[in-house]
Amino acid sequence: MPNLTTIISVAGASFAASFVEAVEALTVVLAVGLARGWRPALTGASAALLALALIVAVLGPLMSVVPIRGLQFVVGVLTLLFGLRWLRKAILRAVGIIALHNEDAAFARETRELSEAGRREAYGFDWVGGATAFKIVLMEGIEVAFIVIAVGAGRGLLGLASAGALAACVVVAAIGAAVHRPLARVPENALKFAVGVMLSSFGLFWTGESLGVGWPGGDAAILAFIVLFLAVALGLVALLKPRAAALA
């Protein structure tokens, strides 16, 4: 039976990571809607959600036939690659070595490019707009699906992780539908920083457990790994920020 630490960290990590991905998808879907019309935007997004549901429906049951140790190992290693990649980027953004992701700028760029792109209509449908919405929702959706597997599969908490992700997507979609603007005030890098720390910790935990490591404290070791990665990440930011500021 998973303890409260595991439950909170699984649902929290899944919600926060999915929130970031949903915000990125929303920015492009809004750009398509305003630049090319809502029909291609919503059709493309809906088609991507359908494709995603099909992928999950086909691949999901396969997970139950994979031995738990093998699943933990594969998910653990992929989560390490995914989480440390996010954390590295978040550190470099926090320091100022790479630019912060700006939803307003991304929205303006997408809207401009989509307005300038030629119309390729067939059967009265704008395929450029539809394909753009389809691609972003599918790619961000695949990331969300992976995050759900990454944080939930190792402990059989896929339902909880899915609920966290679904809640994030519903919240972002509802806000997007209400304000019709990209969610630029979401502290995206802080969220990515936190999620990178959590995913890296989960990855370390699953990988070790799959190799027979009996972590002291069981699931509570994940908290120790969160502290470890957070300390390393914040230490790197503290070390590099003055140098980056001196260069600017």
Binding site: L78, F82, L84, I97, F225, L240, R243, L247
Partner: protein
């Protein structure tokens, strides 16, 4: 179209190739130790817990050095 999709899918996991390679080398090393029973579990755990944050730090510092050189 498919090539682009595959590239983007790989891009979800690999950004800095050296960081990805370092992670895979560490995992391969500890897997070999575990498979051959060459080290107790706590050693494998310790290696993972030390080597992975170290790989992250090395990758970030390398990117920072590169940024300084390009200024």
């Amino acid at each position: 179209m498919i090539a682009t999709a595959v590239k983007e899918l790989i891009g979800l996991f690999v950004d800095d190739e050296l960081l990805a390679a370092a992670i895979l080398v560490v995992v391969a090393l500890v897997s070999a130790l575990a498979f051959f029973g060459a080290a107790p579990g706590w050693v494998i755990g310790l290696v993972l817990a030390l080597a992975l944050p170290a790989a992250l730090a090395a990758s970030v510092l390398r990117s920072a050095r590169r940024a300084v050189r390009s200024e």
